[in-house]
C-alpha cells in the first residue's frame, strides 16, 4: 500500500496528488508517467509525473477530475493508502541542447511541463513557456515556470489574463512575442496537442506531444494504448508516451480515446473540459 502524502484541489477541478513511493521517486525523470489504482475495485489510471522528491521519497502528479475513477482520487486524504502505484513508466522526455525550446501546457500539463522546462534549462537551452486555460483562475504553478523559464506567455479563453483565445493563435503569438523555437513540447489535452501540431507543422518546428490514451498495464502487455505514428502502430506506454506531433494520426487517436467514454468518462461531458476530449 502506498501512503497519500497530499491531495489538494489547486484550482477548480484540478488536484495535486503526492504519494510516498521512494523507489519510483528515485527513478523518476521528466515526461515519465505512473499507473495507480485508487482502491481495490479501481481502474488502473495513468498520470504524468509532475514532480518528485527523492529525499522525501514522494512523487507528485496533477490530475483533472473527469470521471468516476478520478472522482475517487479526488476524495483521497493525506494518510490514506492506495493499493497500486507503479512507475516510472514510459520513456523520459528527450533532453538535449536544442537551442530555444517552447514548452506548452494545458490542464494537467501545466504541472508536468515544469520538470521538463527545468531539465531543458539545465541542459543549456533558452526555455520559454506558454500556458493556456479557460480563465485566469484555472492557472497554477505559474510561479514555478517563471522561476525556470525566460518568459511565460499566458493565453486564456476569456481573455482574463494574457492573450485572449486559444492555441489556434499560436503562430501569431510566437511572432508577436518574437519567440523562434527550435522545438516545442506540449503536455495537455488531446485537442490542444493536435491543434498545436497543426500550427507548428507549416512553420517546420519539431513538436513533441505527450500522448494520453487509455491504458491498463502500462508495460506493453495489452496494447490498448496503441496509436499510429508515421504510419506505424506504436504503444504509447512503451514506445512513448512522447511522439512527434506531426506524425501522429490524430483522428484515429481521438476515436480510440473515446472508446469507453460512455462507461469511463461519461461525467466528463458535464464538465467544462468536454470539448477538449
Amino acid at each position: 500500500m502506498f501512503p497519500v502524502v497530499e491531495r489538494r484541489m489547486i484550482v477548480p477541478n484540478v488536484h495535486v496528488l503526492s504519494i510516498e513511493a521512494p523507489e519510483v521517486a528515485e527513478s523518476a525523470r521528466p515526461g515519465n508517467f505512473i499507473i495507480l489504482r485508487p482502491d481495490e475495485q479501481g481502474e488502473r489510471i495513468p498520470l504524468t509525473i509532475a514532480d518528485w522528491d527523492t529525499s522525501a521519497g514522494t512523487v507528485t502528479s496533477v490530475f483533472v477530475q473527469v470521471g468516476a475513477s478520478t472522482a475517487k482520487l479526488a476524495r483521497l486524504k493525506p494518510g490514506d493508502r492506495i493499493p497500486s502505484y507503479a512507475g516510472p513508466l514510459g520513456h523520459e522526455t528527450e533532453i538535449d541542447r536544442f537551442g530555444t525550446v517552447l514548452v506548452i501546457g494545458g490542464c494537467y500539463g501545466l504541472g508536468s511541463i515544469h520538470p521538463i522546462a527545468r531539465a531543458l534549462k539545465a541542459a543549456g537551452n533558452r526555455v520559454f513557456a506558454l500556458i493556456e486555460a479557460r480563465s485566469s483562475y484555472l492557472l497554477y504553478w505559474e510561479d514555478r515556470l517563471r522561476a525556470t523559464c525566460e518568459r511565460v506567455v499566458v493565453i486564456t479563453r476569456d481573455g482574463s489574463r494574457g492573450y485572449k483565445g486559444h492555441v489556434t493563435r499560436l503562430a501569431e503569438i510566437l511572432a508577436l512575442e518574437g519567440i523562434k523555437p527550435d522545438r516545442v513540447i506540449v503536455h495537455g489535452c488531446t485537442y490542444q496537442m493536435m491543434e498545436i501540431s497543426g500550427q507548428t507543422q507549416p512553420l517546420g518546428i519539431k513538436t513533441i506531444v505527450s500522448m494520453n490514451p487509455i491504458m491498463i498495464d502500462g508495460t506493453g502487455m495489452c496494447g490498448v494504448c496503441r496509436l499510429t505514428v508515421a504510419g506505424e502502430t506504436k504503444f504509447a506506454c512503451v514506445d512513448g508516451p512522447e511522439f512527434d506531433g506531426h506524425e501522429v494520426d490524430w483522428e484515429e487517436f481521438l476515436a480510440r480515446r473515446e472508446s469507453y467514454s460512455s462507461e469511463e468518462v461519461e461525467p466528463l461531458h458535464r464538465s467544462g473540459c468536454a470539448s477538449h476530449f
Partner: protein, 464 residues
Amino acid sequence: MSPVDYIRRPMPKQEPFERVRNFDEVALGYPADVAREEASRCLACKKPGCVDGCPVGIDIPGFINCVAEGDFAMGIRKIKETNALPAVCGRVCPQEEQCEKNCVLGKKGDPVGIGRLERFLADWEAEKGAGEAPPLPPLNGKAVAVIGSGPAGITVAADLALRGYEMTMFEALHEAGGVLTYGIPEFRLPKAIVRREVEYVRSLGVRLRLNFVVGKTRTIDSLLDSFDAIFVAAGAGLPWFLEIPGENLNGVYSANEYLTRCNLMRGFRFPAVDTPLKRSARVAVFGGGNVAMDSARTALRLGADEVHIVYRRSREELPARAEEAENAEEEGVIFDFLTLPVRLIGDERGWLAEIECRRMELGEPDASGRRRPIEIPGSEFSMSMDASVCAIGNSPNPLIPMSTPGLDVGKRGNIVVEEETGQTSRERVWAGGDVVTGAATVISAMGAGRKAARSIDQTLFARR
C-alpha cells in the same frame, strides 16, 4: 491379476447451457472414489514413460499409487517435491502431449488421467486445509531476485527458498501470478487457486513486491547491487496484431487486453468494479490456440449472441488443447476454419462493423510441419461483427531487454539463454519461461525455472 482397464473415468463438468451464463469453473474434478478407481488403472510401469514426458519430472507412478491406496496426503507431498503448482498444472497442462502421451494404456485405450489426478490431490489438500510448508533450511546468506511472478518465477522462487536462499519476487502488476492471473480465465483456472499457490510460495519465506516494474522502477543493473543473482521471467507480454487495415478501430482488442480486463481487472463485474468490458453482440476471435478459445468463451459468458473463431488452417492444425476446443464448441462457439481476416471495416464513428475474410486451402507442410495455408483468390466475403479479439501470439516483454545493456536478445525480442542452464549473456542473470521462448505452456516455463534454479544454486554454491 485384474484385467487391464482401458476406459478413463469421465470428469463431471458444468452443463454447457448452464456454464455459458457464469464464470465458474467448467470442469468440476473427480470425487475421491472415482479418483481412486482412475488411479487403479495405472500399470506402474518399471520404466515409466509418463515421467519422461513431464518437464519437471514429477514422480507420477508414485503419486498415482498413493491415490489408488487412498493415501492422499502422501500423494500430494510426492507431487510437491518437484512441482510447486499442482492445482494449476492439473488444470492447464497439455497432458495429452506430455505425460499422458507416453502412457502405455494409450496404445490400446485411454491413458491414465494423470492431470485429473494431480488436480484431485491439490484440491483435496486445499479442502482439507492440510497444506503444510515443508521444513525450511537455515538461510544460506545469498539473496536472489525473481522478476515476474508467473509459473517460471514461482518455480524458481520456491525451489531456491527450499535451498535456503533469501528470495524476493518482483511483479509489475498489482496481483501475483502472471499469465495465470491476467490471462487464463476464471472458468478454466479459478483465481482463488492461483492465490492459494502464491500464498504457498510466500509461506516458504519468499518476499513478494507487487507494483514493481523491473526495467523501470529499478533496472537489472541496479538490482545486481542488492542481489547475488537474478532470474528474469517477465513473460511474453507484447501482443501481436495481424497487421491488416483497420486494426486500430474501436472494438478491436488484443487477447491480452480482452482477457486482462476480464481476469485481472474483473471487468465482467462492471459496474461493481470500475474497469469496463464491452458486452459485444457479435465477436470474432482470430487464432486457434488456447488463448483464442479462452477469449471466445469469455465473449460468450459476457452475453454475446454469436462468437466465431476465425482460423486460417483446419481443425487438425488447431494448436489449442482438444479439450478446450471441444468445450468451446459445446458452448456454441462457431469455428470458421481455413479463413483469413484480411481487412477490418469500421462505421462512421470509428467502431468495428465488418470483417473481410478470404478462404484458404492447405498446401505443402511448412517449417512447423503443418500444411501451409494458401489464400484462394477471389474468395473474399465479409461478416458483420462489433468486436474482434486478436489471439495470434505475443513477443517477450521488451522492458528488461531495453534497459539491460549486454543482455543478448534474439530476433523476436526473446532473451537468449544457454539451453541447459538458463544463463543469459550477463553474469549473474538467468532467464526462463515465455521471455525466452515466446508464448508457450505453463509447464514448459516451470521446467525452464527448474533448470535455472539448479544452475543458480550450483553457480552461487561454487562461489561460496
